[in-house]
Symmetry: C2
Subunit: 137 residues, 2 copies
DNA sequence: ATAAATCCGACAATAATTGTCGGTTTTATT
DNA sequence: AATAAAACCGACAATTATTGTCGGATTTAT
């Protein structure tokens, strides 16, 4: 049960953008990577995922870059984590994707994992990027 | 952010033992593996870890096997998860093991991950094996 | 026209997880 | 005493996931 470095990098990038928020404009991968000490090539993939998930917006070409798609207050951590950790269901029986585990009928664990996941999701959705940069949560 | 199958298997084995609780005596890897449809060789390694962590006790030799080391009520899920997921710190800066991340000083994410980890741990420690088999939590 | 950036997919390197195996030791039963 | 059933242990193989790199294509401000 770990957080991937991908997600950790992604969150730091998002925080970077949230902090720069007031100085409107776009911030390039290069800038962010340098400031956060992350491989630019890898960071690009990460940020690209976040952009596709709709939390960042991009500007191509010279002077381009990325910025938050919305005010930091309206970007919840759940969004960041979901975008980067992928289909993050704890157990397959909760994924809703066809395949049911052979033990499903007699499995007492199922309800527990479900509740665990709910707890977790609700916490992640209760914290926004703004909360983080203001250190209030 | 996934639960490893190791942990899922381990929990199911623990639940198995908790359910059989009243019929005192030991239950072999073979039995558990068959009932839960898990590779016996793999399950052995998993159960061995749990035994070393002190939540199971073992009896060697013929008619031997495993049982819970304590009443199900006093085995919390946190114990199971910790034993099997290993050193499960979300971020290295929280591991307390020397190495500090280069970004540590200016990292706004740190507090968040810490709080997240606490939430998680406190939930896991609030649920016992008994709660699970009685489906009350 | 140029340079700076996003965008995209393929791929390589590394690490972690999952699973297998062969043997040793212990112990209840016969 | 012999046997069989089990835990115990470490090495290793197979598979999968993560992390990271690269080369080029496209877009756009200057
Ligand atoms: S074993 Fe239980 S919790 Fe795991 S996938 Fe199957 S039904 Fe779900
Ligand atoms: S980047 Fe921040 S949260 Fe991650 S290890 Fe470093 S100090 Fe901790």
């Amino acid at each position: 049960m770990k957080i991937s470095t991908k997600t950790k990098y992604g969150l730091r990038a998002a925080i970077y953008l949230a902090e720069k928020g007031k100085e409107q404009g776009f911030h390039s991968i290069k800038q962010i990577a340098k400031s956060e000490n992350i491989s630019p090539d890898y960071l690009e993939k990460i940020i690209s995922k976040m952009e596709k998930a709709g939390m960042l917006k991009s500007q191509k070409g010279a002077k381009g870059g990325y910025s938050l798609a919305r005010p930091a207050k309206r970007i919840k951590l759940g969004e960041v984590v979901n975008a980067l950790e992928g289909d993050n269901y704890f157990v397959q029986c909760l994924s809703g994707k066809g395949k049911v585990c052979a033990q499903c009928k007699k499995c007492a664990a199922q309800n527990f994992w479900q509740k665990f996941q709910e707890k977790l999701d609700s916490f992640l959705d209760s914290v926004s990027l703004e909360d983080i940069i203001k250190n209030k949560f």
